[in-house]
Amino acid sequence: MQTLLKILARYSNFLVFLFLEVVAFLLIAYYNPYPRSSMLSTANRLVAWEYETADEIGSYITLRQVNAHLAEENARLRNLLAGDSSFNAVYHSAKVVQMTNDKQRNYLTVNRGARDSVYHGMGVRNADGVVGIIRTVGEHYSIVQPLINTASRLSCRFAKNDYIGTLEWDGKNNRYARLADIATHVEVAVGDTIVTSGLSPAFPEGIPVGVITDCKRNPGDSYYTIQVQLSTDYNRLKYVELISNNNRSEIEELNHGLD
């Protein structure tokens, strides 16, 4: 017993180290797919506030007001246009408070949270097209997982016909993504537009996703390798719109019945 205690005392520092590393790796394993906690992420009010304030300091205040006003008006006009009754969308404008666009797993923080009735899985777009999906909701801020996150998948279709594929990002260039699952019997041309399929409850049908810039057909493979230039330029993203699906509870209920 005494020898055991001696050994423990001798290696106590190393044991502390091991304990801390185990905690760190548990955190990585649990949180790495996406930030789950609104406290321990940029959805934390204090953290987001720091980013937001710093952003304010460095910009022209009047220009910002004009932009915010335009963003709100955009959301309002889109509400008027939203005629797709199967989706019943309502748009809310939001400002991007913080974002990364040069990592493998990128996220952006927006200044809308649970008190603005933001919910997990909400679609996010801007004037150009799809931005991403709400991942973590805090009281005042939320985290969006954009298309440029290696964990993101989006169901898309061709604007010209109804063939459906999955959009994924390879973690390299934040302007381009790949469209998978398009069989080689489909006619594909450079310049074709890709839009949302409407199959996910996050987005209504027909929101622009990108334009095909390259299309390869590997011998022996029955699927194309398609490169898509994303409609949204993540290098200059300031305002976004959150898409709230008013039929959501009904869809969830139906899906729940299937499980």
């Binding site: 760190a24 940029t42 493998q104």
Partner: protein, 164 residues
């Protein structure tokens, strides 16, 4: 050594880290993590286990700002484990470690070696854990090389300015 000064510097450095260095964009390969200068330069008067805890906390705070829970914590704890051994190799006179670790206490050569080694270990851990796959390992290594160079230059530059 005045610990309020150490904490004050930590807050200033974290602000710069989050608002300036985290926003650097050079082809996606330059992410210097200068905040570890607070851990590297901290006087070596505390028990080793306390050093480890401080490293873990500093890493965790950084993780909250980067949405990368656990990654910086693992890296910071690792460099805090190695720190006393590195210092032991470089300094014979233990008394000197009661002051801030710097070019002044260690000398330029030893401080450059100490900083470079720990910065590279920290950055490599962060980028390898962040990529979390073997397919991106080449990119993670380029990221480590570029970011480490910038971090080392900034930390040593700070030393030169302070102890000119």
């Amino acid at each position: 050594m005045d610990w309020t000064k150490q904490i004050g510097r930590y807050i200033v450095v974290m602000f710069l880290q989050v608002l300036l260095f985290n926003r650097l964009q050079l082809a996606g390969v330059c992410h210097p993590y200068v905040y570890i200068l607070c851990l590297l330069m901290m006087p070596a008067t505390l028990p080793h286990s306390v050093d480890l805890l401080l490293g873990a906390v500093a890493g965790l705070i950084m993780d909250v700002f980067c949405n990368s829970l656990g990654i910086h914590m693992a890296a910071c704890t690792l460099i805090m484990l190695l720190r006393p051994f590195m210092l032991g190799q470089m300094v014979n006179d233990i008394e000197r470690l009661n002051a801030e670790i710097s070019t002044h206490t260690l000398g330029i050569d030893a401080m450059a070696k100490y900083t470079s080694l720990l910065v590279v270990i920290h950055h490599m851990t962060v980028f390898l854990l962040a990529s979390w796959s073997w397919t991106h390992i080449g990119f993670a290594l380029v990221e480590t090389a570029v970011s480490s160079l910038v971090s080392i230059a900034l930390i040593l530059g700070y030393n030169f300015v302070k102890y000119r």
